[in-house]
Symmetry: C2
Subunit: 340 residues, 2 copies
DNA sequence: TTGAAAGCGTTACCAA
DNA sequence: TTGGTAACGCTTTCAA
């Protein structure tokens, strides 16, 4: 059913309508001045021919591709999906279109994607996190277009930032555990190789315990980030084996927290009576699990909205909008898994 | 930090190297014949200038954009993420790059995306499902490039198909319930407006019950697809209210099944002793829930792999590869939530 | 309100 | 192995 003949061009539409191709071009951009009548005739002819404008050509000519490159770690994550939703909605009224890629939490893959995306001449680039390979950093710095880093507060920002402190977020949970009277507190996360935000959370966890003069060594790191429910369960088994006296465990994500909790339950322990559990990310799962899991909400959608707002203003001003930092404040949501 | 001067072009690199821009062009495509020595000089000059090839221009000139448009319903769904992974890996060795969009299960949004993507002159288009708006169907038929519909078995395929029968998959679950001795069987899904694959599952459910001479009216439809865990919980509350004698419930997805199950547990019921539950999609959650949830595995990743295989062969042959149907067989995974 | 001409940055094609 | 020239399909710019 696939037609092989080449696609019609503006000239074809112009010829059929009896106007110049310039007029066709104008008719397809709403702003231009074309008489309503000719515009209608042009539209009709275009429909008849099955004409579809070629943004490859218009992008080359106008130097505006309409692309915004977005790089996120995963396309199977409710938090990043929320951020993307905020972005998508915030850009709906513009001519901008997302060019989306995912890295699987691998900065080397991020570098590859950024390089590929740069060839597409995006009008802006949005990346997740503040840790990049040296080459990737160079790409971003020399991109010649606005760059936003989100989901983190990089020490040395490239351009604009919308994010939060993962370390501070982890502290929230530690302090909550402490207030509940827990003293032997552990952390479950992935191996340290990849997920830099996860590492920041662990670092925040350790720092918070040290400040409280508590033992910060009850840490289990296993599984390739993002760690799964299953990884969380396995890690909890290990945690209970090494430190049977553990009172509370913070997990790097709600998913691993759920896995960890079910592992406790399978082992016949009661949550939170025998052990308290905390997660991260405010997933639906944390709310519906029995008991519901205490978690941290990072306002993922708001991050996307903020980035979109910034983008619109920067691209409107046509120039260097202020490269500032929008700081998001994570919130602790206390639930049954950690309150007694 | 954003440089404003315009990006260097091939001519700039050519001038700096002392060759023609044609030679630079060749040097950047591995196949072409350029002496190793000049190629190295060119690469060096390019690095120095921070030159990045412009695929907008090369796409226009070569008529190969390197894009494969992919439209999926959601970017927060483990199943579609698996399919995408299969696709991504299957295309890694090629020059192809995914141009990804999501519809939120809205065929009108699918139409919008397909139209936008067509302007980017993709070399192929992959959509999810076999139900499209009339206009969208027309776009796809006239696209002039290979089209694949996946995750479904459309009655009237546009081109290539890699999918499975959602109705038949639902039948698997009904038959399993029946073999376990259940007779009063219900279905929980979203409202019927959007998710066509969910609707197919419900239709398969009803048909299977009718064939078994059982009452097929115990159906709760609520929530905008994709229905959430919370929707599943609410639906179960309604189900238990209307049909307190219900013995087994099939849910349109594992997420709603989990929500439904927790609702039963909150109501003090035991699963599966008091009520059996089945889901769909083989999520990690179904395996880790207590009890583990019986589900249906649709080989999501294999779907992506098959599409990639087809794509490689079609684009290699340069021509109309066979537009056939690759049929996937869903598998039932029996677990504690439905076996007694 | 419309049109003609000159690019945009690359590659196809033909020559050397 | 290299280079010159003419597209690719559109928009910018200047004129009418």
């Amino acid at each position: 059913m696939r037609k092989s003949g080449k696609a019609p061009t503006m000239s074809d539409v112009a010829r059929l309508t009896g106007v110049s191709s310039m007029t066709v071009s104008r008719a397809f951009r709403d702003d231009a001045s074309v008489s309503k009548e000719t515009r209608d005739r042009i539209r009709k002819a275009a429909d008849k021919l099955g004409y579809v404008i070629d943004s490859t050509a218009s992008g080359l000519s106008s130097r505006r591709t309409g692309f915004v490159a977005v790089v996120i770690p995963s396309i199977n994550n409710a938090n990043f999906a929320d951020t993307l939703r905020g972005l998508t909605e915030g850009l709906r009224s513009t001519h901008l279109q997302l060019l989306l890629g995912y890295t699987d939490y691998d900065v080397k893959e991020e570098e590859r994607l950024v390089e590929l995306f740069l060839r597409r001449r995006p009008e802006a680039i949005i990346v997740t996190g503040g840790s990049h390979t040296r080459r990737c950093r160079k790409f971003l710095k020399n991109a010649g277009v606005p760059v936003a880093e989100m989901w983190d507060l990089p020490a040395d920002p490239i351009d604009h930032v919308v994010g939060f402190s993962n370390a501070a977020a982890a502290e929230l949970m530690v302090h909550h555990f402490h207030e509940q009277g827990f003293r032997r507190i552990g952390f479950i996360g992935g191996d340290t190789s990849r997920d830099t935000r996860g590492n920041d959370r662990r670092a925040g966890f350790v720092a918070a315990l040290e400040k409280l003069d508590l033992d910060p060594t009850r840490v289990v790191a296993r599984g390739i980030p993002p760690i799964t429910m299953r990884d969380g369960a396995k890690a909890m088994r290990q945690m209970l084996g090494e430190w049977p006296d553990i009172e509370a465990v913070m997990c790097v994500s709600d998913l691993s927290a759920f896995g960890a909790m079910t592992e406790c339950q399978r082992a016949g322990m009661r949550v939170p009576d025998d052990i308290a559990i905390g997660g991260f990310g405010s997933y639906d799962l944390a709310e519906l699990a029995i008991p519901a899991i205490t978690t941290i909400d990072v306002a993922a959608r708001a991050i996307g909205t903020h980035v979109a707002d910034w983008l619109r203003s920067v691209l409107a001003e046509g120039q260097s909008g202020t490269a500032d930092v929008t700081r998001i404040e994570p919130k602790l949501l206390v639930r049954g898994s950690s309150s007694r």
